[in-house]
């Protein structure tokens, strides 16, 4: 007979469980990170000490954290929106690259003849359009032909990466740089608020609030969520399910394109291959942790900004590779899934053959 495992849906879940479970997931991920550090021969106490100082130790580190959080916030807000209409945008990475390319191209073309703010305006608008089209194509193929959006967006990511490599060695190459493939330096930049922190962060927060408002307080937001949650019922109600899907992908891509443009004119001031580090993929995790809620995504983006910023200063103290942040975020993701599950279900062992 033996023991059977049975899952039961929990009834009422007290509010504190919703807070404790994700906190536990984070702590567990950082604990595993400590084991990885030990394996790599570094002291976890020193490592996490440097991590905390680098992420939160004072105004300057904290503004760096917010700077790092900006692309996460823009992309994760867009991804939450497309998740709400039940289409997964894995392609934020490619849309981000396309946005960065568009911004750089405009800057290289115009920065010597036109005032800076016009370069920024034109560049950001073009980046938003290109990003939106890059994602919208995947949305169109999903809505009209039923092709899996995950595969399409990943293919488009690789097209964008190859395009970037080609441009940096060809049309966008800085003629003065002989060795490294990189664009000429870009002069116009976003206005600074404090230290390196620029206006981009403020715009990202405002956009997150705006998207929250649209999603939860307007008619079109209601339709978008209805189409995602129950496409069949939405279709009966006369909603345009395919249209909503494409629209959500367009917005999602526009946000990612903007993130790419902001990073070029706010953070790097140059275009090089180093921008391809998987920020778009991380933003999917940021959206998951923020439960696809734009206001919660603000908090979650800042948290991931802190992880990236903290790991950078950890790297200089312990000589650990910055890719530790990738491991930690992968584990946060997995533990988060498991904690969600434990919140919703109770596991019971049943003796004998009780079916």
């Amino acid at each position: 007979m033996g023991v059977r495992i049975r899952l039961e849906r929990r009834g009422e879940v007290p509010l504190y469980v919703y807070i404790l479970a994700p906190t536990g997931a984070f702590l567990l991920a950082f604990l595993m990170g400590a084991f990885l550090m030990l394996w790599a021969g570094a002291s976890p106490i020193k490592g996490y000490g440097a991590f905390l100082r680098g992420a939160f130790g004072g105004l300057k580190p904290f503004t760096n954290t917010l700077l790092r959080a900006t692309p996460f916030l823009l992309m994760a807000t867009g991804i939450s929106l497309s998740n709400r209409s039940n289409v997964l945008n894995i392609g934020a990475e490619g849309q981000y690259i396309m946005g960065a390319i568009a911004m750089t191209w405009i800057a290289v073309l115009m920065q010597n003849s036109v005032p800076g703010f016009i370069v920024i305006l034109v560049g950001v608008i073009l980046a938003v359009i290109v990003g939106a089209l890059w994602a919208g194509a995947a949305g169109y193929l999903k809505a009209k032909m039923g092709i899996n959006e995950v595969v399409v967006t990943v293919m488009l990511n690789w097209v964008a990466i190859m395009l970037l490599k080609w441009l940096l060695r060809g049309p966008l190459k800085d003629p003065r740089s002989q060795q490294w493939p990189m664009s000429p330096p870009i002069g116009p930049h976003l206005p600074y608020i404090y230290g390196n922190l620029n206006l981009g962060f403020v715009i990202a927060v405002l956009l997150a609030i705006a998207i929250w408002y649209v999603l939860f307080r307007t008619n079109i937001g209601f339709k978008l969520r209805a189409c995602g949650e129950n496409p069949r019922a939405a279709r009966y109600a006369g909603f345009n399910v395919e249209g909503m899907l494409i629209l959500s992908m367009l917005i999602s891509g526009a946000m990612a394109g903007m993130a790419g443009a902001f990073d070029v004119i706010g953070t790097f001031h140059i275009l090089y291959e180093g921008i391809v580090v998987g920020l778009g993929y991380t933003s999917i995790i940021v959206a998951l942790v923020g439960k696809n809620h734009p206001l919660a995504v603000i908090g979650s983006a800042i948290m991931f900004g802190a992880i990236y910023n903290g790991v950078t200063s950890m790297q200089s103290v312990t000589q650990l590779s910055y890719t530790l942040s990738k491991c930690i975020e992968g584990m946060i993701y997995l533990f988060f899934l498991i904690s969600e599950f434990l919140v919703l279900y109770r596991i019971r062992l049943i003796r004998g053959d009780a079916s």
């Binding site: 495992i5 997964l88 690789w158 060809g170 992968g330």
Partner: protein, 312 residues
């Protein structure tokens, strides 16, 4: 074009198609049982790193292949546990496996080898007696790496198992209508576990093939999206192993042509056009997906968890 050039383009086509075929047929089995495993890319990366590590430390390539398979098995168990036992959203669980494999493989590589240049002695291409003497085709298909010969056997066997064996029938039934299969006494959980773990083990092998036969080194993201391409090719093959195999050859050919143009571009001093050409394989996959989209029909229970107790 000379016959030698044609032969070498075809040879590279088969080489590039091999990891895709392993990962693809594995994913096909998982999907046929109703499990959409989006973590293939992460499993391939872990398989690639582990096989690189084992080959680098022991110099034994057979062990390296096996290490790739073993890592695939372990990650497949994790995926099966999350999607079959815990009944999590498979898209989200699969992405979790991807992130985990992507981060961990890179972190372990950078920690162990740092910035030093580490490489392994790659496997050699072996000529089959007689067959390799056929003009053009012989050199392309029968002077090949060990895993290519395994592929020649494995894909037809997997096709046969899926369509002609009792187990294959059960597998397809579980993917189409798990409730009916369950009523007839088929163990849905067991079959889904087996299919997912088998698929992941093949993805691990695909990663090992990439490292041991193609690159000889490890670097961040060395799969170049192949895990996701494999998922796309399952769709392109409409969940049939032989059609999927044809798709891997199509991708292999476009990749091989793009790489063969490398010499030409470096001769005329315009190396950057190589990267432009490397966009083509991905665009080919996209066009292939669009071409078959009207005819493709996924297994009915794909990515839907099965609950015995409730009627959903």
């Amino acid at each position: 074009m000379t016959p030698e050039q044609i032969s070498s383009i075809l040879n590279l086509m088969v080489v590039m198609a091999t990891p895709l075929a392993f990962a693809g047929v594995g994913e096909l089995y998982a999907e046929r049982s109703g499990i959409l495993n989006l973590g293939v890319e992460g499993i391939m990366l872990m398989g690639a790193f582990t096989s690189f590590y084992v080959a680098h430390e022991t110099g034994n390539l057979l062990l390296a292949y096996l290490a790739g398979v073993a890592v695939g098995l372990a990650l497949g168990l994790l995926m099966a546990f999350m999607s079959v036992s815990m009944r999590l959203n498979q898209v989200i669980a699969g992405m979790g496996i991807y992130f985990f494999g992507f981060g961990l493989s890179d972190f372990m590589y950078k920690t162990i080898y740092g910035t030093e240049y580490a490489s392994i002695e790659k496997a050699h291409q072996i000529a089959v007696p007689l067959l390799s003497k056929i003009p053009i085709i012989g050199n392309a298909f029968f002077v090949q790496y060990p895993s290519v010969y395994l592929m020649y056997v494995l894909i037809p066997v997997m096709w046969y198992l899926l369509y002609r064996s009792r187990w294959g029938l059960h597998l397809r039934a579980v993917g189409e209508n798990p409730r009916a299969a369950d009523t007839l006494g088929v163990n849905v959980t067991l079959i889904r576990y087996l299919a997912t773990v088998l698929g992941a083990a093949l993805a691990g092998l695909a990663g090992a093939v990439l490292c041991v036969e193609i690159t000889g080194i490890f670097f961040e993201n060395l799969t170049f999206g192949m895990g996701f391409i494999a998922i796309g090719l399952v769709y392109f093959g409409r969940w049939d192993p032989l059609r999927m195999w044809a798709g891997t050859m199509l991708f292999g050919l476009s990749w091989s042509i793009a790489m063969s143009l490398q010499d030409y571009f470096s001769r005329i001093g315009k190396m950057h056009w190589v990267y432009f050409m490397l966009m083509i394989p991905y665009i080919v996959v996209l066009l292939a997906l669009i071409a078959v989209s009207r005819k493709a029909r996924a297994p009915a229970a794909l990515s839907k968890p099965y609950w015995r107790e409730t009627s959903e």
